[in-house]
Each structure stands twice: as structure tokens, then as C-alpha cells.
Symmetry: C2
Subunit: 391 residues, 2 copies
């Protein structure tokens, strides 16, 4: 029976090409002093930086800047940002970038309100409560993680090889600006990694032993079809607005909580991937692309096959008249073809320079030392076996 | 090209069987004095009334009551409610019922904050601005109109034969309690009318000449499949939780604005139906059921056929290899079969006692005296022709 749930996603989204003129008014609702966070130079190259600075100046706000947020954002950037908020008495944060920038900004927003080290929010032995956080506005430049409409973030701590996520409603952005044209310059490779990331977000929820909600199954299947349809278009025609818009809105809805409704979720591929990128700093979406088909293969058996069959028929259009196990195998093959053929992502860990050296430790950590719950509960030995399938 | 849009639906939804214990705390966020609005005796028969009163008392709140809100709610109920709010200095409204109760409560909430007659919010010659409204919490007991998650309402004025809708973000409920078990006693007939209403909400958006958003098309198709699948189950097994839950969540998402994104909508069947129920007070969903297939038939031609074909293939599973016009005709026949065969709704206006007497006047009003924009612009003569097809 479908579980009870609370739906509560009060993010205001300005979607489209001509929305940034709302930025000044939205920031002003929260105060005068704005800290803008961003990554490298890409927002300057596309002219977004200048446009944003102008909107902020025209609104009479004070602008402070924290550039240099890295992909797989690090706790040191969070510490630096939290420190700046305290020094300059910041009222509102403006994250301009992809999921990494927004994730880091979420913990800067929380870190600004406490006296302790912001790593304590992540550290599994501490998990300090998020009592308060500065308001966050963001301008998205990459369709992938969905951080623009969810309440979570993932932060890396290279000194301990940790990469840890945390969810809290107080971290939800107040306002997100989603302009698909801001992703026109995203490279085919990063577009592919983003598509793999979104696909994984949906698969993690779709393949789950909790009771299903048919209406939401349909929506998840629709989002998977959207990614299959438009990721290759966006790679081929980077300025195809329709493709970029469909991918952008899918990135938000794949993980904002709507499709989870009623499922007490336990994800599998994300914890396994977090170990990969904690140890090797590989692109999150690429790690997920390599892991997901192997994990699906590993979990396929008589007890789980019906879910794969529904997926194969509704998403890949495989004939429903075939035996379920055959549909399931064909569907996994279709997914692999999409990830490694159409998206042209590397197929194995070996190809990205990862060998079995740390597999045992990583598997132990991914399984939280005991068992990784989820679609199929995985012990460290199972996780290690899945890593080995990826070599 | 997809249009720009703003997504902003800050309604908190408690979905499920065991959520009403949050009611006291949610109401208390807005104040002490609660006006509960409801319709007839059904909430007493199912024990919901007692449960709600207990929660309110336990939270130490003061309860006032406005029973007797009618289906196709009337401006007099709104006036009475607004008056009560002023007299008792009400802080928050609690609507317990279906769309009619919630719609009326929205205009009570606005009417409570002004000195003029609340009909001025609706009256097409006045359209008084909604500057402020009391906060609204609702407990839904009928899956149909989607009023629990949208910002609109429709009010009848029998003295002028008017039935007019109005949207305003300030009318959006703050919190909605969606417990599918509260719809277990909804009769098969009312379940069918609700299903027809939801189906119409989706069809009005899906059949539209504005640019389509593939991801949202998939979601609309998923919701239509949900209604096709579960409405007959709920009619046959009124206490089937899965069916009631799917219908309930679909009622909210069919019309909360998510699927419209980017479409400058003009609806067709709803304005035509509002004239029917303004003149004859028939059930809204029934009126829509009779009108929708005729309207689809009337609008089908070479310029619109591709939309029908996509619909036929993706929703009704008609073979994509047939000629588009044939798919379209089959799809309309499938919809008619669903509405009049499966849902057992009456097929013609004649069967519900409506003749052509007022068709000319109603058509004129539905077209706003000139043209009803939408999927296909309709002049009064077109609207009248569609009414005649329903005889």
C-alpha cells in the first residue's frame, strides 16, 4: 500500500529566456548584501556574470563574490564562504552555476549561521542539526544534479577521502532561475554526464521495493523518455532550445521529491559512486553511468524482474509479449547502448584509470560498514562485485 | 518555441491516511479563530467532522462553522462566509469538502478582507483586484476539481445566470490534507463525474496550439492513463486505496499549473460547460463529459490531427502505423467509450433534460460575445453547433 508522505516544495522557478530582470527584486526581498558564488570562468565567457552584476547593481544591492567553487565541491570552499558571510554580514546567497556551486552554497548558507566547522553538518559521526540557513537564490547553468529544486547537497573532504550528502528542508533554494540558453555552451561530454546523472536519479527511485504509485511511475517513465530523446539532440545541436529546456526541467523534477512520494527511499548507485569520486574525483554523472547498468544486472532475478519488464515496455518500447526476463535483459542493453553508444561515455572504470586497489575499502564505506539498503540490499561483498563488473 | 513561465506552487500537502494530527499545528500558525466551511452532511456521516472538531479543540482553537455550501457554490454562501469572518474576526479558514467548498472558501477568504460585495471579484465588468485573503487550509473529500492545489475558483450567481471563474495566487491554499480514505464513500456516479472533470482539465491543456513541452506531454498522458485505469476500479471497489490515491493526486496535478507551463492557455470546454451549469445547475463533470468528445470531433481537421494522433497512440495504445486521421477518430471513440460506457455517464444533453432553448444565449456568453480562443477559436455559431451535437 502506498505510504503517507508530505509534499512541500516552495521553490519559485523563473523558467525561460527573459526572466533575469526579476533577479534584483527577488534578492531584495531578503536584504541588501549579496554573496555571489560561482565556479570557474564559464559564467564570464557566456556573459552571464556581467548580466548578473548589472541586475544586482541596478537593484542597489552590495555584491560580494566567492569564485572558484570546484566540481565535486570541497569543504574548504564551504568554510571560506561561511567565513565571508560572517565577515560581511551577508543577507542572501546567489549561486550561479551547476549542482556543485549550488550544493556548496547550501552548506555555506547553513555554515554562516553557526560557530562550528560546517563539516560537522556532513560528518557521519556528528550530523549537526541545520537550525537555520541564509536564503539562497540560484541561476542554473548545467542540467544535472537537480540541486536547484531539492534540499540536498554533497560535499567532498579530500583530507579524509569522504564525499557525503545531506538533506534538510532549510537548504532548499527560495528562487531558481532556469534559463535553458545558459546551458547552450555546455559541452557534449558534460551534457552527456548530466543526462546520465538525471537518468540515475530516476532509476534510483523507479527501482525500489517500496509500493509504487502508478501516476508517478508514468511521470518517471516520461522523464526517462525525455532524456533518451533530447540528450543526443543537445549534444548534436547545443543551441536547440527545446532540447535544453526539456533536459533542464527534467533535471529539477527527477530529484525534487515529487516522484519519491510515499517511498522510503534507499539509493544504491549514488553511495557507490560517491566513493568513486571521493577517491578518484571523477565526474559524478560518468561514475553513475558506468555503475548503473552493472547494478541493474546484479539485482535482476525472478523477484525483481517485473519492474524491469514494465520499464522495458514503457520506456524503451520493447514488446510486452516477450518473456519478462528477456524484456529485462533487452532493457538493460538499451540503457547501456544509450549511455555508452549514444552519449559516448566511457564504458569501464579501467578506461577512466581506476583499478581495484581501493574497491574493498570503498565497498565497505558505501555499505556503511554493514549493508546498503535499497532495491536489493547489498553487503560490502556485493558492492565490491559490482565494482569489479565495471572494470 | 516553448514560452517562458513562472512555477510557484507553495502548497504544503499532507497526503495519506494518518496525517490529520498535523491539522492543529498548521491552523495555529495562522491564529486562533477558525471558520470551518463545509457542504451537506457527508463529512458527519464519515466521521470526519468529529475528528476535525477534536483536532481543533485539542489545539485550543476557537471554532466557527459555515455549513451548507452547495455544489456549484453560490455567491450568497460566499457573502455569508465573508460576513462571518468579519463578525468573528476569523484568522484562518478551514474548508472541508470537495471543490465547491474549497472554491467558495477562496472567495470568502478574499471577501473577508474588503468592504465591497465579493461578487465584484467575479463580475466581468468589475474584476476587483484580490489584494489580500485570509489563509486557507483544506481537507479534500472529492477528487475532481483540483481546487486543493490551484489558485482558482468558480462561483455561481443564480440571479443573473452567471457562473464565473477567477484565478489569483493569493487564493492558493496554504495547506491541503489529501487522505484518499476520505473519498471511500464517494458514490460511483460522483466518482465518474470527478474522473470526467480531471480528464477534461488535462485535455484542455493537452489540446492547445501553443508550443508543446515533451516532458509535460508525457506527464499529461500519464495522468490520463491513470484516470482510465483507476476510475473504474474506484467505482467498482470504492475502498480501493490505490485507486483512490491515484485519482486524488491526479486531481491536484491535472490543474495546479505544472502541466500548463509555457502555454498561454485558453480553455474551451470549461467556458461552454459553465453556461450549461449556470442555466441548468447540472454537475460540472457530467457537463464536461458530454461536451468534450463533441468538441474534439468539431476541432479535428488536417491542421490539428497530429495532436490527436499522438494522444491516441500514447494514451489509448492505438497503433502508430495507422493513418493519423484514423487514429484520431479511434481515440475520440475510445474517450466516448470511457465516459459513456465505462463511467456510465449520460451521453446527451437531452438525457439530462436540456434542450436548445438557451443555446444561442449560452453560446454568446461562452464566447465572450465574440470568440472563444483556444485549440481552435470558436465563434458563437461554432459553440452553438457543438451544443447541438450534444443533443
Amino acid at each position: 500500500m502506498i505510504n503517507d508522505f508530505v509534499y512541500d516544495i516552495p521553490v519559485r522557478v523563473y523558467f525561460g529566456r527573459d526572466q533575469l530582470h526579476h533577479l534584483g527584486a527577488e534578492l531584495s526581498r531578503y536584504g541588501k548584501r549579496v554573496l555571489m558564488t560561482y565556479g570557474g570562468g564559464s559564467i564570464k565567457r557566456i556573459g552571464l556574470y556581467d548580466r548578473v552584476v548589472k541586475e544586482i547593481r541596478d537593484a542597489g544591492l552590495e555584491l560580494y563574490e566567492l569564485p572558484g567553487i570546484e566540481p565535486n565541491p570541497r569543504i574548504d570552499s564551504v568554510r571560506r564562504g561561511a567565513q565571508m558571510c560572517k565577515e560581511h554580514n551577508i543577507d542572501v546567497l546567489l549561486a550561479v552555476g551547476g549542482g556543485s556551486t549550488i550544493d556548496a552554497t547550501k552548506f555555506i548558507a547553513a555554515g554562516a549561521c553557526v560557530d562550528f566547522d560546517p563539516w560537522d553538518f556532513l560528518d557521519l559521526s556528528k550530523r549537526a542539526p541545520v537550525e537555520r540557513a541564509l536564503p539562497i537564490v540560484d541561476i542554473l547553468t548545467l542540467s544535472a544534479t537537480g540541486s536547484e529544486m531539492d534540499s540536498g547537497g554533497v560535499i567532498s573532504n579530500p583530507s579524509t577521502n569522504d564525499k557525503i550528502g545531506r538533506l534538510d528542508p532549510k537548504l532548499l533554494p527560495k528562487v531558481s532561475f532556469l534559463d535553458p540558453t545558459n546551458t547552450f555552451t555546455v559541452s557534449p561530454y558534460q551534457t552527456a554526464c548530466g543526462a546520465a546523472d538525471m537518468m540515475s536519479h530516476i532509476i534510483e527511485v523507479y527501482f525500489n521495493m517500496e509500493p509504487d504509485f502508478f501516476m508517478l511511475d508514468c511521470f518517471m517513465e516520461g522523464m526517462m523518455k525525455t532524456i533518451l530523446r533530447y540528450a543526443p539532440v543537445a549534444m548534436r545541436e547545443p543551441e536547440n532550445y527545446e532540447a535544453r529546456a526539456n533536459l533542464m526541467w527534467t533535471s529539477s523534477w527527477a530529484i525534487n521529491g515529487f516522484v519519491n512520494a510515499g517511498k522510503r527511499l534507499a539509493w544504491s548507485c549514488h553511495p557507490m559512486e560517491h566513493e568513486l569520486s571521493a577517491y578518484y574525483d571523477i565526474t559524478h554523472g560518468l561514475g553513475l553511468a558506468i555503475l548503473t547498468p552493472r547494478w541493474l544486472e546484479y539485482c535482476l532475478d525472478e523477484s525483481t524482474v517485473s519492474r524491469y519488464a514494465q520499464w522495458g515496455v514503457n520506456v524503451f518500447g520493447i514488446s510486452a509479449s516477450l518473456p519478462p526476463m528477456e524484456i529485462a535483459r533487452k532493457a538493460i542493453a538499451e540503457l547501456s547502448h544509450f549511455l555508452f553508444g549514444v552519449l559516448q561515455l566511457k564504458r569501464t572504470l579501467t578506461e577512466v584509470g581506476i583499478d581495484a586497489t581501493h574497491f574493498a575499502t570503498m565497498a565497505h564505506k558505501a555499505a556503511g560498514g554493514d549493508v546498503l539498503p535499497g532495491f536489493k540490499p547489498l553487503r560490502p561483498a556485493d558492492v565490491e562485485a559490482i565494482y569489479r563488473m565495471c572494470l
